[in-house]
Symmetry: C2
Subunit: 134 residues, 2 copies
């Protein structure tokens, strides 16, 4: 298949890294460290993926959760597959801490406008992510 | 360890079924088919679980997602580990469809009051769940 990122995801997220058919993206809003994993598939829900690809996405989600905790000092990590608005399968991995702009509520539909990550931060996060997942 | 359900989860959910150290619960609100899986652990995030237990929870989440789709006719299934309010580890598996009271938004913090499932429905769902997971 030819992979093509959903336009809404491309608009809202930076593409940081790709690994074994999964793309890792970072939301263009630095108020909260909000990542997603987008596997290359036309299927729309995790439980429908072939076993091997599903295990890969779950494993990558676990690694990304640890990365978020280590890198951003997040006290909780919210992990979710929702897809009510954007049908392309994507797994959210979001660092949360008391005092963040949505705490203790969820972020979906609630994130206020905020500054984007700057180029140096994106380069640093991309490089660290590639090293951790290598 | 001695397993004890968090009081908030006990208040909000029916306990339907237990399997290999995981408890499956159903929200006391029939507006939306909202299930959770509660593994017996003191750890608070999925990625911290031992490999075998983590795989078990993910596998059970996949089975429950299929159950929700088959049983309730849900068009999407939202799967999420959040835990900002209730620290006891639990995985949400929620059937969603256009026209439900929260659609297309998320359910957390947004579910209006609604009638509970009745005893016959709970018995039917429990029995079907036990059969599917057996």
């Amino acid at each position: 298949m030819t992979f093509s990122l959903h336009p809404q995801l491309a608009e809202d997220f930076h593409q940081l890294h790709a690994l074994d058919g999964c793309h890792i993206l970072l939301r263009r809003n630095a108020l909260i460290p909000w990542y997603i994993i987008v596997p290359e598939t036309d299927l729309s829900e995790l439980d429908r993926l072939p076993d091997r690809q599903r295990q890969h996405v779950y494993g990558l989600g676990d690694q990304l959760a640890r990365f978020v905790r280590d890198t951003h000092g997040s006290q909780r990590v919210n992990v979710a597959a929702i897809g009510n608005l954007v049908p392309q399968l994507h797994l959210h991995v979001i660092g949360r801490s008391p005092g963040d702009p949505c705490w203790p509520g969820v972020v979906w539909g609630q994130l206020p406008p905020g500054p984007d990550w700057n180029d140096a931060e994106i380069a640093r996060l991309t490089s660290k992510l590639a090293a951790v997942l290598a």
